[in-house]
Symmetry: C2
Subunit: 122 residues, 2 copies
């Protein structure tokens, strides 16, 4: 679950803010990436600046500002900067949520066996 060039700011924290959800702003530097992980809780990600690319389950999606994607429960996912400037995005989650987990061997094998997803398996 290694990551590189990533910063996180929790902008809205539950329950202090009077809501059940949390809003975090992430920024990934050029060449950077988030940890490869999975968990039960859903991520709602809204791209805000720069260009990103994401592994979500067995799919790869490009993210430009104003794009929104969700990670389904237990879908392995990783966010990568795909441009020359910082890639910034908002990520909203439930305040009460489970901890991220590393992938199991079968999930690693599946990622590596697919040419589309193999570049995200590190």
């Amino acid at each position: 679950m290694a990551w590189r060039g990533l910063s996180r700011h929790t902008l809205v924290r539950a329950p202090e803010a009077g809501v059940s959800f949390e809003v975090r702003y992430f920024e990934i530097a050029p060449g950077g990436f988030s940890s490869l992980e999975k968990h039960a809780h859903v991520h709602v990600v809204f791209a805000a600046r720069g260009r990103g690319r994401a592994l979500i389950g067995d799919q790869v999606v490009d993210l430009d500002p104003l794009d929104l994607v969700e990670t389904p429960p237990f879908a392995p996912h990783r966010w990568v900067n795909a441009g020359e400037e910082p890639f910034g995005f908002l990520c909203t989650v439930e305040g009460e949520r489970d901890r991220p987990q590393p992938l199991d061997d079968a999930e690693w094998d599946a990622l590596l066996a697919n040419p589309l997803t193999a570049p995200f398996a590190y």
Copy 2:
């Protein structure tokens, strides 16, 4: 509670999406504005494109892309396009929430008595 030039798209709907919150994308055309209203539930607003201005309680805030603001419970609020292109923002709320209400007479009087907030009282 009149509004002008406003569009709304619900991007993430609770509980269908497996979350307790909803994410909506609003866009206000140049010259447009949202309804002046209040309610118990909190809005978390993240500016995404264009330039906006907001009345929140007795304050007025300018909104550029990447700015985030919250509306406290029962604070009267209105979103206005303050530029020449569409003003777009993400608004996250609890899935279960109360309905918007119009302002009462005392709240109208307070808005009108303050030169800062009077331009939002229509």
